[in-house]
């Protein structure tokens, strides 16, 4: 385990979503919990780390309203915390609606909800900033952000 990880509950506790009371709160919390598991899941996917071995990057990933700041070093997520972090720069952001993440992580995602760029095309996600690290490692990001798929449906049910 690499230093800098927050436990799923800690990530949620840092996030204003925790204080919201709405019908979508359960989905929002489940999405944040799932994001918090990504660094550890990545540690269990050495082939993905190898694919990202030339990648050092600060980026925002997560739900549209409450993204997480990810620090990636040599393909590993060495820090993942609620954004914004005071005066910490980032190069690109990929943010999607909580409903989009929940759909993306289904074991058999529905058509149009099954790919990061399908989500941007349908307006459920947005890519912003300097896209270069995202595009040079496009399959890496698709696969890293799909890591919760194996657990999400079970956890959310």
């Amino acid at each position: 385990m690499t230093a800098g990880f927050r436990s799923p509950d800690a990530v949620i506790a840092e996030n204003p979503l925790e204080r919201m009371s709405s019908a979508s709160n359960a989905t929002d919390n489940a999405v944040l919990k799932a994001f918090a598991t990504i660094p550890a899941l990545l540690e269990q996917a050495p082939e993905l780390i190898v694919r990202g071995r030339f990648l050092d990057c600060e980026c925002l990933l997560g739900p549209t309203g409450h993204p997480l700041h990810a620090s990636i070093r040599a393909g590993r997520i060495v820090d993942l915390t609620s954004a914004p972090v005071l005066m910490r720069s980032w190069r690109f952001a990929y943010r999607a609606s909580p409903a989009a993440w929940a759909a993306y992580w289904q074991p058999a995602p529905r058509p149009g909800w099954h790919d990061l760029l399908a989500l941007t095309k349908r307006g459920e996600a947005a890519i912003e900033g300097d896209l270069h690290p995202f595009m040079t490692h496009l399959q890496y990001f698709k696969d890293v952000l799909a890591l919760p798929r194996q657990h999400f449906a079970v956890a959310a049910s």
Partner: protein
């Protein structure tokens, strides 16, 4: 089984395209109605290997798949000096017609996928009488762009990796992993700028809105089949296109994406077999 030799045979045919001889690689199998298969942008005719090897289809069709110039084993022409490659509607149409003429094919069926599906619509508009039937996979008169093609060919981004990663999402998740990986391998092997150059036809030069209404399916039947997971050419794009063409047949294919013939050959066969059977039946009636 070690030692098994697949039935298709690959050869080169010299084809006059634009007053210059091109050495075009093609593979074929079977006898009967010529069935010419067109690969997607940035890939090559290996996408059709399962259809080419299909013993049932080969009883009724001479199945042929060729690599477009700059793709697969069809090199760029001798006159190419390294300039940016750009496929145009006119050039693409001319290439297909010249290939069919060079092989002396009598009223072939043409089946194309993606850009191949788009050009099939153009063949239906301008040259329908030359063909027995036309089949467009993942075909529409126009599709909304969903990425900037300049990412496909620049020195600071690996072309093979980014091309494959972009199209990976167009494949349905239900396909066999090996077939999905093989489909992406075709994109990883494309020449620099070739995928981008093909998309010049797709994005800039090949907008057929307002023209497909002129297709006469009494002259040449038209079949359009699109995978439900294709978010580039969506089922809605195909249905909108077909709605403007009297007599066009439309099928939305479940558990398939933008590369049906290669990403999940068995699933694709369920949908294409009835279409090919209908073409065979029509040929018998005509004869």
């Amino acid at each position: 089984m070690s030692g098994y030799v697949e039935p298709m045979i690959g050869r080169y045919v010299h084809v006059d395209i634009g007053a210059e001889m091109h050495r075009i690689y093609f593979e074929e199998n079977g006898t009967g109605i010529p069935l010419v298969c067109l690969h997607t942008a940035g890939s090559d005719a290996r996408q059709w290997r399962h259809l080419l090897a299909d013993a049932e289809f080969a009883k009724h069709f001479r199945i042929i798949a060729f690599d477009m110039p700059w793709h697969g084993k069809s090199n760029p022409p001798a006159s190419w000096n390294g300039d940016e490659y750009q496929l145009t509607t006119a050039r693409y149409t001319e290439t297909i017609r010249a290939f069919c003429k060079a092989l002396k094919l009598d009223k072939p069926v043409v089946m194309g996928c993606s850009i191949g599906g788009r050009i099939v619509l153009n063949l239906a508009i301008d040259h329908a009488a030359e063909f027995r039937a036309l089949i467009g996979l993942e075909a529409a008169d126009f599709q909304a762009p969903w990425y900037d093609t300049t990412w496909l060919n620049r020195p600071d981004v690996h072309g093979g990796e980014v091309c494959a990663a972009l199209v990976s999402g167009l494949i349905a998740p239900q396909g066999p992993q090996a077939a999905r990986t093989e489909t992406l391998w075709g994109y990883k092997q494309g020449g620099p700028g070739v995928f981008k150059g093909d998309l010049y036809f797709y994005r800039v030069d090949g907008d057929l809105r307002g023209r497909v209404e002129n297709i006469d399916t009494d002259v040449c039947p038209l079949f359009l089949l699109t995978g439900e997971y294709d978010f580039s050419c969506t089922p809605e794009d195909t249905k909108r296109t077909a709605a403007a063409i009297r007599g066009a047949h439309v099928t939305i294919m479940e558990q398939l994406g933008h590369f049906p013939m290669s990403e999940n050959p068995e699933q694709f066969r369920r949908y294409i077999a009835p279409v090919l059977a209908q073409i065979v039946a029509s040929a018998k009636v005509t004869a």
